[in-house]
């Protein structure tokens, strides 16, 4: 079984993955052979046209940067198709404001969520309303924000990454179609358990260093955020972002070390001919870029410290912390740089020594076609054996239980509780949320049920209530709501249940086509009205 600690999604096992951004080694170099070969070609006597004239290698990178702006353009164009009420909003300006707030809050405890975006955007929307002579409306603002966030998140395509196609010219002078995939904004898990809106590294780089290269680099994005926060004077956030950048750098280092370890352990798992040398080169280039940026952050931090006044003690401390963390990253990167240089020799030696067959990197499975269907085709016993082996991986580890003698004695001494015989399997429900059950029914159904309840006498059997409602021609959804209200009112002294209370009638059975069981005596109070 392939059990890579980085999940087999690192550069080695999955080279052609454009969507993985956090540690992508400038993916453009992979898909664009001209980058590496363009200049060499000049000296080749056979090539008639100088390719660097026809298609300079840098052009592809620049093109790819531009492609990242197309979804924003798409938002703007879709204005024409939108309803007339929203047409006076400038979605490009608004989308940039959304990116601004989510990037600005990155790393903050109160990272931006939908609510924050609404709060920030409402004044802007109101200003646009005013110019257009429209009265501001919360409902319309919400609708517009939905469209903006949905557009940036690519809700239209099931929140998949945006996919933009483009053409470049390869070494042979042939035009080639490529597809670039990237995200701008996504729903992310916040450590606190909330759902937050987070910009992709591409969005950060696009926004903070517009049209600079290397849009796909997650670490570059983290460091760009630190730079931006330092410049904006948001020092505490800069500390947090610097920590994030450090975590990224630790992960990057772990990933590289893991690759080195895996390679030594299992030659088949890596592609020695192309992938490993490329990964090493890319990692080296990446590290060199990081070191440059980290030096510039350090410089900026030192400058800040020089000009800061003594009464800004907190800010001084924060900036000093940013500097310290960045210095730590710098140190780590310098060390890793040395290790990588050493590693290259290790690889070259090993390559020379070992007989190897280049192994195509292991593709990721399409779970439905490559796993589910083959298993369904298998005969029952081996299929069951297979799913039994795979099963634990989907649910995660379960701590085994040990017997506690103390606990056992306590358990044995406690009085035996009678176990009610259950004929029907009880489905677990979230009993606390009564309203959610009711909200499943449309308002008119709920209103009809209330009316029938209010019309009933003070004390009435549930069976009668249902029978009367049925004869009055109510649909079964209304009957369900009546039954639901009666059940919610059962044994609920301390709960607000809309003025409906009910208790069992000994021995009486309810046998309605809709439900059966013990009949209830329903009392309709004032609150029902």
């Amino acid at each position: 079984m392939a059990l890579a600690n980085d999940g087999g999604k690192g550069g080695l096992t999955n080279p052609a993955d454009p969507s993985q951004s956090s540690f992508a080694f400038a993916a453009d170099e992979r898909t664009d052979p001209t980058t590496a070969l363009g200049t060499d070609n000049l000296s080749q006597p056979g090539s008639a046209v100088s390719l660097s004239d026809g298609w300079p290698s840098d052009l592809t990178r620049r093109l790819r940067v531009l492609l990242h702006t197309l979804p924003l353009d798409g938002l703007r164009r879709s204005e024409a198709l939108r309803d007339a009420e929203l047409r006076h909003y400038d979605s490009l300006a608004l989308a940039l404001r959304v990116l601004d707030v989510v990037i600005d809050r990155l790393g903050l405890e109160a990272e931006a969520d939908r609510e924050v975006v609404t709060r920030v955007l409402r004044p802007v929307l109101s200003a646009m309303d005013e110019v257009a002579g429209a009265a501001p409306s919360l409902e319309r603002h919400e609708r517009m924000i939905d469209k903006l966030v949905g557009g940036l998140r690519n809700d239209g395509d099931a929140r998949r990454p945006f996919r933009e196609e483009y053409t470049s010219v390869n070494v042979e002078g042939e035009a080639e179609r490529h597809a670039l995939e990237f995200r701008l904004l996504f729903d992310a898990f916040h450590p606190s358990g909330r759902t937050v809106l987070r910009p992709s590294p591409e969005a950060c780089n696009l926004y903070l260093r517009l049209l600079d290269l290397d849009v796909e680099d997650g670490q570059a994005a983290a460091e760009a955020v630190v730079e931006s926060q330092l410049a904006r004077g948001r020092f505490d956030e800069a500390v947090h972002s610097a920590r994030q950048a450090r975590i990224q750098s630790v992960r990057f280092r772990d990933k590289i070390l893991q690759i080195l370890k895996d390679t030594r352990r299992d030659v088949d798992r890596v592609d020695w001919r192309i992938e490993v040398p490329r990964t090493l080169n890319e990692s080296l280039a990446h590290l060199e870029r990081r070191v440059t940026v980290e030096r510039s952050i350090l410089e900026a931090a030192d400058e800040r410290l020089d000009i800061m006044l003594d009464d800004e003690a907190d800010s001084r401390r924060a900036v000093a912390q940013v500097a310290e963390i960045t210095r730590d990253c710098l140190l780590r990167h310098t060390e890793l740089h040395e290790q990588l240089i050493g590693a290259r020799n290790v690889f070259l030696d090993a390559q020379a020594r070992q007989a190897f067959a280049p192994n195509p990197s292991r593709p990721l499975p399409n779970l439905a076609d490559d796993v589910l269907e083959p298993v369904l085709r298998m005969s029952m016993v081996p299929a069951a054996r297979l799913v039994e082996r795979g099963f634990p991986l989907f649910v995660g580890p379960r701590a085994s239980m040990l017997v506690s003698l103390d606990g056992l004695v306590t358990w044995m001494l406690q009085p035996r509780r009678p176990q009610p015989r259950q004929e029907i399997e009880v489905e677990p429900v979230d009993a606390a949320d009564l309203d959610a059950e009711l909200r499943r029914y449309p308002p008119e159904v709920r209103a009809a049920a209330r009316e029938l309840l209010i019309a009933a006498q003070a004390d009435v059997r549930l069976s009668e209530l249902l029978a009367n409602a049925r004869t009055s021609g109510a649909q079964s959804a209304v009957l369900e709501v009546i039954a639901l209200l009666a059940l919610q009112g059962f044994a609920s002294e301390d709960r607000d249940n809309g003025g409906v209370a009910s208790e069992p009638i000994a021995g009486a059975r309810l046998e309605d086509p809709l439900l059966y069981g013990d009949d209830l005596l329903v009392r309709i109070g004032k609150g029902a009205e």
Binding site: G7, K9, R159, S192, P365, M380, A383, A384, R398, P428
Partner: protein, 252 residues
């Protein structure tokens, strides 16, 4: 107090936090400090990994969201389908529960490349119906393919030689007592049960999507499937297919 303890003690504390899927570092100061230490201290990281490995656990991910562990093959921490559904020891129940797990993962990650995405990005929630449809459509297709072939005889069935999809379809048939809606309910219950149990393991949360219930995968679940379960179960399938004997002889 804890500062004086041996680093191994701290490392084992971090592993035990990882075995509590519902606890997050944000709620527990000690957990938070240990995660921080994991990032800052290289030898501590190595100790945590060695310790987990010795216990039969993979460390899939450590972040401010917590530690994500996965059981190694034959680990004492591995939860088998038989323990998943207490009180049932039938092979077909275990098979269906396993199929439900794969179908859930396949619905959360419909494309191969989804497995390579950043696990911090929330996947859209899934519903029981979507998972059921995923499973049933494949079974119906396989059933249509097999229409010309003779039905399996009773002896084959007894020896477990019938294909897995027939087990699923039989579950549809045997429970088709009154109307076909009832039958759907039976297979839906298998899936709903699985999702509900996954919720107990911190793998899903239940959310509302309009009028219906939907299940939101947690980051932990995404990490587990993306980093290990997806490729590992694929590898198991490949191994099984490359060994044609075990696939056709019913493992006898």
């Amino acid at each position: 107090m804890t500062g004086t303890r041996d680093p191994v003690w701290h490392a084992s504390r971090l592993v035990q936090w990882g075995l509590r899927p519902l606890v997050k570092p944000v709620q527990e100061a000690e957990y938070r400090e240990l995660v921080e230490r994991y990032f800052n201290d290289g030898s501590f990281r190595a100790t945590v990994r060695e310790l987990a490995d010795g216990l039969g656990l993979h460390v899939l991910d450590v972040s401010e969201h917590g530690v994500v562990l996965a059981p190694q093959d034959d680990s004492i921490f591995a939860l088998k389908p038989a323990d998943f559904r207490p009180g049932s020891s039938k092979v077909d129940d275990r098979l269906l529960d396993g199929l439900a797990q794969i179908a859930i993962a396949a619905t959360v990650f419909p494309r191969a490349r989804d497995l390579a995405e950043n696990p911090d990005i929330m996947r859209p929630p899934v519903s029981v119906d979507e998972v059921e449809a995923q499973l049933r459509q494949i079974c119906e297709r396989l059933s249509a393919e097999a229409r010309r072939a003779p039905d399996p005889n009773a002896e084959d069935e007894r020896r477990g030689l019938i294909e897995a999809w027939r087990v699923y379809m039989q579950r549809l048939d045997t429970l088709e007592t009154r109307d076909s809606r009832k039958a759907m309910r039976a297979t839906r219950r298998v899936i709903e049960f699985s999702l509900d149990r996954l919720r107990e393991f911190g793998c899903f949360t239940q959310v509302r999507q309009g009028a219906t219930a939907a299940w939101q995968p947690t980051r932990r679940y995404q990490v587990m499937v993306q980093q290990l379960a997806g490729t590992a179960v694929f590898q198991l399938v490949r191994e099984a297919l490359e060994a044609p004997h075990s696939a056709s002889s019913g493992g006898a």
